[in-house]
């Protein structure tokens, strides 16, 4: 469809990956040309002129996802999924352009590293992967009075779904909650399945189990004992263990 017949609009979608793929579908089949793409949560009507709400369609999303895997590549689909979870305000615009370019160029799109959009989206995806990977190690759970393990995090990106997958496998037989304080969201796992819920900003942390303090004390002591005095290197330590992660980590809190 020639672009001059397209309707240029500011697209708003529901914030899910399926919703985003529905936007891509609307571009190819409904003549929609996004001037900007925003999710409903972050949507600011004041700066938007022609807002156009895309209704999420499971079927359309599935079609686009399959097309990405088949006509571009599985890697591109994975990159898109990760970059989608990043946080800069223009992430959806960049991702949209990346996918459109992918359909044009095909599976070699990822070789175009000198192309700014390709480079940018890959970088966003890497940052998401990196932050999620770090949190798979830095998450700290506390046992609560209900025997549920509670963990608070404060990530830059929307990595809760990646963490949910990781811990549902690793800590399969215990109930846990991971609370993303930055995005006011939590994932709750009951020993079988998990679900995402919204959390109020002022939600206090749950009360701790009786022996929790003692275990935390043992860990903190263990952590402090491991450091070798002669090797201490504060500069390197700050680089490798950034301060922003430390707020929620037992060994740095106590």
């Amino acid at each position: 469809m020639p672009s001059n017949t397209r309707k240029q609009v500011d697209v708003v979608f529901d914030g899910t990956f399926e919703g985003f793929l529905s936007v891509v579908h609307a571009y190819y089949y409904d003549g929609i040309l996004p001037r900007s793409i925003q999710c409903a949560d972050e949507y600011q009507p004041a700066i938007i002129q022609d807002e156009y709400f895309i209704v999420t369609s499971h079927n359309n999303a599935k079609k686009v996802a399959t097309a990405i895997s088949k006509k571009i590549s599985i890697d591109v689909k994975r990159t898109a999924q990760y970059a989608f979870l990043s946080s800069p305000p223009d992430r959806y615009d960049a991702l949209f352009q990346y996918i459109v370019a992918g359909f044009k160029i095909g599976h070699t799109i990822d070789n175009h590293l000198q192309n700014e959009i390709v480079h940018r989206v890959q970088k966003l995806a890497r940052e998401v992967g990196r932050e999620a990977h770090r949190y798979t190690g830095f998450c700290r759970f506390e046992e609560t009075t209900h025997g549920i393990y509670y963990c608070a995090i404060d990530p830059v990106n929307h990595i809760l779904s990646i963490l949910a997958n990781h811990f549902a496998d690793r800590l399969m037989n215990q109930s846990w909650v991971i609370h993303d304080k930055k995005h006011h969201e939590a994932v709750v796992y009951d020993g079988h399945d998990y679900a995402f819920v919204n959390v109020n900003a002022d939600q206090p942390p749950p009360p701790m189990a009786a022996n929790e303090k003692e275990i935390q004390g043992l860990w903190t002591m263990y952590f402090n004992t491991l450091a070798i005095e002669a090797r201490k290197n504060p500069k390197l330590h700050r680089q490798i263990m950034p301060l922003r992660f430390r707020n929620e980590m037992t060994e740095f809190k106590n």
């Binding site: 175009h112 002591m221 290197n233």
Partner: protein
Amino acid sequence: MYAKNDKMIQLEQMNVLNDVGGNMDFAERLKTLTEGAKYDVACTSSGVNRKGKRGAVGSAEACGICHSFTADGRCISLLKVLLNNYCEYDCQYCVNRRSSDIPRASMAPHEIADLTMQFYRRNYIEGLFLSSAVLKNPDYTMENLIKTLALLRGDPYNFNGYIHVKAIPGADDALIRKLGTLADRMSVNIELPSEQSLTHLAPEKSKSSILAPMKYVKNGITQAKEELARYKNAAPFVPAGQSTQLIVGATPEADSRIVHLAQGLYKNYALRRVFYSAYIPVGNDKMLPAAPTPTFDTGTGLTHTAYGPILLREHRLYQADWLLRFYGFTAGELFKDENENLSLHLDPKCHWALRNLDKFPVEVNRADYAMLLRVPGIGQVSAERIVKARRVGKLDFTNLKKMGIVLKRARYFITCNGKMAEKINMLPESIELRLTDNHSAGPYGQLTLTDLAHA
């Protein structure tokens, strides 16, 4: 032979070496047994992928996960602890040697198992790294290690996370086999890089008592892999491979000998990792170098950590090791003769490049992947990006920058379409000067996180 302390005698009489509380509380014993374990620098949890399973706790990720970092910048991924530190041996470099004046303690298998689970459920750790001082004799010690791991892997703990265990030199093969079916990784530490040093400083150990279990583990791994290829349910044996540690700076061996030794270990024993540990004096022993005295710089008002040079040397060894494992270098290429040390002010790749300037500059648009990897400043990620990107178009310096390739050092060694980044004098001295023109960064200026994080 030596004076046993009261505690040891009492323990031997009671023969209850497995559940000793004594008058130390649990926290104190944990502290003591952590102190005894912390000079073993290996703390990686990598090498094996294992999904979680119903009824069990834990999984393993081949890439490894760091759960925290110590104040000295080392990755913490395992609960690294000794079963006990009552050692019969007297290795001079070791804090647990029998002549060392330290508090002694031990933990019962169920205490280790409980603690591992409590830490694991809170995601403090990726698993357990268990070792032990030689209590009574190697076999007896191994039996205790086996007992502990068997407990942790069995009901009701059902621990499915990562376990690294240190085998005891001189132990029976059957015990090594048993231990290897319970652990993911096994290590036998060589510690001293030559037989003379070993005889001198670790009289109860010998090269053969160390190498024999390594050979055994290597063969076991090969066999298990073959079996696994044939039957799906074959029992795994040390699936994450074996590693060892070398102490650097306690004895006079030059880096050349150390790197050649490492190369031999990778080749002949299929080791996954060799770890290097800068010798930090533990107790004043006359046979070993003493702790350096810190110096006060009146100019800057700073006290310099006198360990800088030895830590930097350790870092250079990790870099050289990296070149062996991932960059296609051989030890022979890095050294002129066996008494040579790595340069402290240039990383080993730069140093090699300066000695081999006739191989440079390389053309980014044509050089093969292996040669790109040899360019100072170009790592695996950059080399891969270059190879990918040039398939869709010629690359110039602006492209390289856009692709996120750091040219700070690489610029002196590459051309893009026949052109260099700037006109420079291709004399070793002139390039060397540019490469080391980074005084403000100090000796740690070139530390890379990946090297250290997995150190």
